[in-house]
Amino acid sequence: MTTEMICAGFGGQGVLTIGKFIAKAGMQEGRNVSWLPSYGPEMRGGTANVSTVVSDDPIASPIVSYPDVLVALNQPSLDKFAPSVRKGGVIILNTSMCPHGCQRDDVEIVAAPLSDIAVEIGNTMVLNMLAIGIVIGKTNLIKYETMEEDLTSFLKAKNPDLLEMNLKAIKRGMEIGKEHG
């Protein structure tokens, strides 16, 4: 089984980190993974995106034409990538920053005001952890336990409060993902 994913948003929303954590967790769960960021001048203040592939087979192209999962944290990202999502795929969109929504009716859409929920949890920075939680809750692509272990290993000693907040965001995301299941 191969899952191809694109995460996109404004530079600073942490989209590259979403892909990185999912790729790392996939690797730790013994699967093949690749992580390919957009890089270059377009990232400054513009949109950033990352293609992440998690597969049981060796990964051919790390470039994703038709994602199974799209995480769109703002409207320009949604507009750019939503048309290419595979039929029956999943679009996770941040309604706080996607005022026009998504017109696809042949995919599953998980829509929630993620930026607002992140602030509610305690910090707008946990927006990406919320998105990872939704991916876990909706698709079971990776396990929560792997994420918890990974975050704990580098945050527990350094900043236990931040660890708590991040784990809370992932759990909240999982609830949102499951509600839409």
Partner: protein
């Protein structure tokens, strides 16, 4: 050893250090800069020398000088920077010194852009610098292979006393994949490696004779002596051509109706398209040159099955490897080409559409 998720640029730097590289000179350029950053961090930790030169020209000449010591030395850059290094590379090849050069290609010509490209194939395989010389050119297609090629490149450079180029691109440099490293070479192992060069290198005398010295030079004003030197280098290249061709075949069978040839990043994307076509019952094979000099002509020729109607070359340039494929195919089948340029990378869907049109 456990797998680590790493960028290609970082992985090749770590692997080079592990393979005994303790001398690294370079000048930063996107999309290669993580490599020089990593070396800046790791070289001092292992007692090596990291030096950010004032220019690419200076860096390659530092490599030239350091290579004369017979130690493992490396530089890296991206396309425009590699162009600047060409004079030095020609000198290193002429003086028959082992050195490793990494090119993380970006769009050209000129300053071009910073996106992935394969437009330096001609430069890498057909000269680049002046004079009759060859580089051994390795073309990785994954982060793991990029890392593995660091030690392979040093071994080949030592074996043949010839510069070796790793021809990667911005995508391989910037992407992360799991990578497993070989153990770090011990100082004793590194010293042992150096001993193979004591017959020619500029190093403390093994025999203790102070008058005994070696000269390293690429200048030879006596034509008869230079002729002999060049012909002797060409004998070496013939041995390399005979022994060092490497390629991978993917989905090659007698059922193939199309045979693709692609290297590096492009080959990954072609593989995805081939997998999709398989589901539709369409049989397409791929030959991926793992080394682009010496070119695996025989492997390409051997992969042309009885039903192959067309050989299709895909590159991120305007068809620079195409000539080599035509030499290999030698009229046995029509050879078609499609590529993307300017730092734009084709998608699996685009390749799939091109291949579907062949059926």
């Amino acid at each position: 050893m456990e797998k680590i998720l790493m960028k290609g640029n970082e992985a090749v730097a770590e692997a080079a250090m592990r393979a005994g590289c303790r001398l690294y000179f370079a000048y930063p350029i996107t999309p290669q800069s993580e490599l020089i950053e990593y070396m800046a961090k790791v070289m001092p930790k292992v007692g090596g020398t990291f030096l950010q030169a004032e220019s690419e020209v200076a860096a390659i000449n530092m490599v030239y000088g350091a290579a004369g010591s017979g130690k493992r030395v490396m530089t890296s850059s991206s396309s425009p920077g590699i162009s600047l290094k060409q004079e030095g590379i020609s000198y290193i090849a002429g003086a028959e010194l082992p050195a490793v050069i990494v090119n993380v290609q970006r769009g050209g010509p000129g300053l071009g852009d910073i996106q992935p490209s394969q437009a330096d194939y001609f430069q890498a395989t057909k000269g680049g610098g002046h004079g009759d010389y060859r580089l051994i050119v390795l073309a990785p297609s994954s982060v793991q292979e990029f890392a593995d090629m660091a030690s392979e490149a040093f071994d080949l450079a030592d074996k043949y006393r010839n510069p070796v180029l790793i021809l990667a691109d911005g995508m391989l440099g910037q992407m992360m994949e799991p990578v497993e490293f070989k153990p770090i070479m011990t100082q004793e192992e590194i010293d042992e490696l150096g001993k193979q060069h004591t017959s020619w290198c500029i190093c403390p005398n093994a025999d203790g004779d102070a008058k005994h010295h070696h000269e390293i030079n690429s200048l030879e004003l006596d034509p008869s002596v230079l002729e002999k030197h060049v012909l002797q280098m060409y004998e070496k290249y013939a041995v390399i051509e005979k022994n060092e061709q490497r390629s991978e075949i993917f989905n090659v069978s007698d059922d193939n109706e199309v045979l693709c040839v692609a290297f590096g990043t492009a080959s990954r994307i072609v593989k995805s398209a081939i997998n999709e076509l398989k589901k539709e019952g369409k049989s397409v094979g791929l030959v991926r040159p793992i080394r682009v000099w010496p070119y695996p002509y025989a492997a390409v020729a051997a992969a042309i099955g009885p039903k192959v109607k067309q050989v299709y070359v895909f590159e991120l340039n305007t068809g620079q490897m195409l000539d080599d494929v035509k030499i290999a195919v030698c009229g046995k089948a029509p050879v078609n080409f499609w590529g993307k340029v300017g730092g734009i990378v084709f998608t699996p869907a685009e390749i799939q559409a091109k291949l579907e049109a062949c059926f």
